[in-house]
Symmetry: C2
Subunit: 406 residues, 2 copies
C-alpha cells in the first residue's frame, strides 16, 4: 500500500465530484458538494446513535443497503436537524433533484447536511445549486468537494492510497469534516470514502464498520455526539479485480488494511483540527484485559476537560490522566499502571505502578509543546490495545462556541 500525496476522492477510477457555492453560507465559502460514480456502486455507512437524528441520517438509513448507490449530495451551513417532517421532506427533495439531474432513481442517492441545527433548509438556493453542480461534475473536482463540506474546520481533510488486489491496482480515497460536536458513537462526523475495489456487500460492510469502531469512534473533540454524524463508503468495482468474497483472502486483508489506514488518517485530521485545538492528542492504551477496556480508558483520557486544559498549558499533570483512567469504568488495577508522555523524538515516564515519579518538569513541558503529543498507558493486565485521538481545550474553543455574535 502506498500513500498518494495530493490525491483525493476523484482520483479513484470512475468517481466525479465538485463543490460549489449555492448561497447558504453567509461567509460565501463553498457549501454544496456532489459525488458521483460513473459505475454502479455498493455502499456501506455508519450513522449517529443520537436519538435526535437529522433528516438526512434517517433517509440514508433507509437507502444505504440498496443494490446501487451512485451519488451523494452534501450541503454545509445548515444541518437540517430538528426540523421535523418538513426537514425530512427537504432531504427527500434533495435526492429527487439529484436523481432527476443525473438520471438515477432517488433511492440511489444519499444525502448529508452539516451546520446549524433547527433552521429550515433554504431549498430555493439548494435545488438550483444541485442543478448547477450536476452539470460540472469532474474528475478534478475532489478538492473543491472536500472544501464544500467544511464548517468551522480550518483545513480540508483528505487522503488517498493505492494497493493491489487480484493483480489489479486499486485505490481508496476519503474526505472528512470536523470540527465541533465531535464525540462519535458507532458513527462519525461526516466522512465520505470512494474506492474502485470490487467487493461483496457483506465484506464491504464488515471491513468498513469494524474500521469505523477503531478510528472515527475513537475521536473526541468536546464530548458532544452530533445529530448528523455519518460515514459512507462507495465501492464501484472499476478497478476490475475479481470480486472479493472471502474474509480469509489476501485481497480482503489488503483492502481492510487500506480502509483502516484511510479512516484512521481522517480521524486524526479531525482531532487535530478540533475547534480551537493547538495540538493533536493521541492516547494509546496497552496490555488491557479486553478491547473494550482499552477503548474505554483511551476515550476517557482523551475526553477529560481537565487534562485537555493541562495539555493546552503544557502542564504534565499526570494526576488528571490517572483520575480519568479511574472513572473510565474499565476493568483496571490502578496500582500497577505506568504512564509515559511521548512526542516524535522523546519519551518521559511520569507514573510508575500508579504513583507519580520524579521527572524533569521542564523537559516534560517542552515535550508537551509539540504539534502531536502521545500519552501511553500500560495497564499490564492483558493483550489488548486501543488508541484514541483528541485535542487540547483552549480559549479559542470557548470563543468559537460561546461568542457567536462576535
Amino acid at each position: 500500500m502506498k500513500i498518494l500525496e495530493g490525491k483525493t476522492i476523484t482520483d479513484v477510477k470512475g468517481f466525479l465530484a465538485n463543490g460549489i457555492y449555492s448561497g447558504v453560507k453567509r461567509s460565501k465559502k463553498l457549501d454544496l458538494c456532489m459525488i458521483y460514480s460513473e459505475y454502479k456502486a455498493k455502499a456501506s455507512g455508519t450513522f449517529t446513535q443520537n436519538k435526535a437524528k437529522a433528516a438526512p441520517v434517517t433517509l440514508n438509513q433507509q437507502n444505504i443497503d440498496n443494490e446501487n448507490i451512485q451519488a451523494i449530495v452534501v450541503n454545509s451551513g445548515n444541518a437540517n436537524a430538528c426540523t421535523g417532517e418538513n426537514g425530512y421532506n427537504d432531504a427527500v427533495k434533495m435526492t429527487e433533484k439529484v436523481a432527476e439531474c443525473l438520471n438515477l432513481k432517488k433511492e440511489e442517492v444519499l444525502v448529508a447536511s452539516t451546520g446549524i441545527i433547527g433552521v429550515p433548509l433554504e431549498m430555493d438556493k439548494i435545488l438550483p445549486g444541485i442543478e448547477e453542480s450536476s452539470k460540472i461534475l469532474s474528475a478534478d473536482g475532489g478538492e473543491n468537494a472536500a472544501k464544500a463540506i467544511l464548517t468551522t474546520d480550518t483545513f480540508s481533510k483528505e487522503i488517498a492510497v493505492e494497493f493491489t488486489v487480484g493483480g489489479k491496482v486499486a485505490r481508496i480515497a476519503g474526505m472528512a469534516k470536523g470540527s465541533g460536536m465531535i464525540h462519535p458513537n458507532m458513527a462519525t462526523m461526516l466522512a465520505f470514502i470512494t474506492t474502485d475495489v470490487n467487493i461483496s456487500k457483506n465484506l464491504l460492510d464488515k471491513a468498513f464498520k469494524e474500521s469505523v469502531a477503531s478510528t472515527y469512534n475513537m475521536v473526541s473533540v468536546d464530548g458532544d455526539t452530533s445529530t448528523n454524524d455519518m460515514s459512507i463508503i462507495l465501492a464501484n468495482g472499476a478497478c476490475e479485480n475479481e470480486e472479493i468474497i472471502s474474509e480469509e483472502s489476501a485481497d480482503y486483508i489488503e483492502f481492510k488494511k487500506a480502509i483502516e489506514f484511510v479512516n484512521e488518517t481522517l480521524a486524526k485530521l479531525i482531532a487535530k483540527d478540533g475547534e480551537g485545538a493547538t495540538k493533536l492528542l493521541e492516547v494509546k492504551i496497552k496490555e488491557a484485559l479486553t478491547l473494550e477496556d482499552a477503548r474505554k480508558c483511551a476515550k476517557s483520557v482523551v475526553s477529560s476537560n481537565l487534562f485537555k486544559c493541562a495539555l493546552f498549558g503544557n502542564d504534565a499533570n499526570w494526576g488528571r490522566i490517572v483520575c480519568a483512567l479511574g472513572y473510565s469504568d474499565a476493568n483496571i488495577d490502578m496500582d500497577i499502571i505506568d504512564v509515559f508522555l511521548r512526542n516524535e523524538s522523546e519519551s518521559i515516564q511520569i507514573v510508575k505502578k500508579g504513583v507519580g515519579i520524579n521527572f524533569d518538569e521542564d523537559a516534560a513541558e517542552k515535550l508537551l509543546d509539540s504539534k502531536t503529543v502521545s500519552v501511553v498507558v500500560n495497564l499490564k493486565q492483558g493483550a489488548y490495545e486501543a488508541t484514541a485521538w483528541g485535542c487540547d481545550l483552549s480559549f479559542e474553543y470557548v470563543r468559537i462556541n460561546g461568542c457567536y455574535r462576535t
Copy 2:
C-alpha cells in the same frame, strides 16, 4: 423547617470546629479543618466511585460504619491521591494524631484531603497543625472550618436549618467545597453535614444516601469525577428527640426533607462556584418514563460543553440542548418534547414537539444573562422528574486549568 441565616456547622448542638493555616497552601490561606462532636455520633457517608481512590477515601470506607465517629480532620492544598502506600499511612497517621489529641480511638476519626494529586503530604506541617487545631476547637469555629476546606472555590458554602422532631428543636447544618473536577458519581466533592438529631444508623444511611443521589450526584462542573469525592454526615443526638426508627414516622419525613434541602443547597452552591462559572445552570426534566431517564437527560444537558459555551455567550442555542438529550441514552421520544428557558421572572418556550419555534432572540439573550438560568424540558412520557445543576464554560475555566504557571 426554617433556614438559619448566617449559621454554620458549629451552630448544631454539641459540635465544635475550627480552621487554621498549617503551612501547606502556598497562598497562606486556611488549610486545615477539624470537626468534633462532644457526644458520640453516628456517621453516614458516600464516596467516589473513581477506581483511583485517594488514601482518605479508602481509610474512611473502612471506618464510616463504626459505632461512634466523633471527629473529622480535613486538609486542603494536597489531595493525598495517587500517593501509594505512603499516602495511606499518612492518612492513618492523621487519624492517630487526632485521636491522641482528643482522647478518641483512631477508628472514631474520619479524614479528608483535597488539592493537588500525587504529591506526598507534608506531615511535618500537618501533624503539628492537628495538635494546634485540637486545642482551639470552638462553637464559633464553623466559619473558619468552611474556609479551610476550599481550594479554587471563590466563596464558602454553608447552610443551616432548624425543624422539629418529637417535640424537640433539631438542626442540620452543612458545608461543602467545589469547584473543579466536579462530576460526582454516587458520591460527591467534599461535603460535611452535622446534625443533633437522634436517628437510627439505618435511617441515617437511607435518608443521606437517597438525598446524595438527587443532589450532589446531579452536579457537574466539568465531567471529571474526582479521586477524593466524599460527603459525610455526623448525627450526635444532642437535641434529645426520641430516636427516629421508622421511615413512616413524621419525624423521619421531616428529617429527610431537611437533609434534602441542606444537600441541595450545597450542591447548587458548588455548581454556582464551578471553576470559571459566571452563572448557575439548572436543568429540570419533567414527565420522564423513569427516574433514571429523567436523571440521564438532566445530567447530559448540564454536562454538554457546547451548550455550556452557548450559555456563557447568552446564546439560546436550543439545538445543543436537543442534541444533548438525544445522546443521553435515556428512553425518550424526540418528536414530542418541549423546552423552555427560565429565570426568576420569565419563561420563554424555544422548542415545541422537538422542533425549534420562533421566539424573541433578544429577550432570550437577556434572560440568559441572569445569575441563575433554568432549562426546563418536558418529555411528556411519564411521571418522573429530576434536576441537575452546573455552570457555563468560560475562558476563565481554561485559564484556571490550563495556565498553571501564571
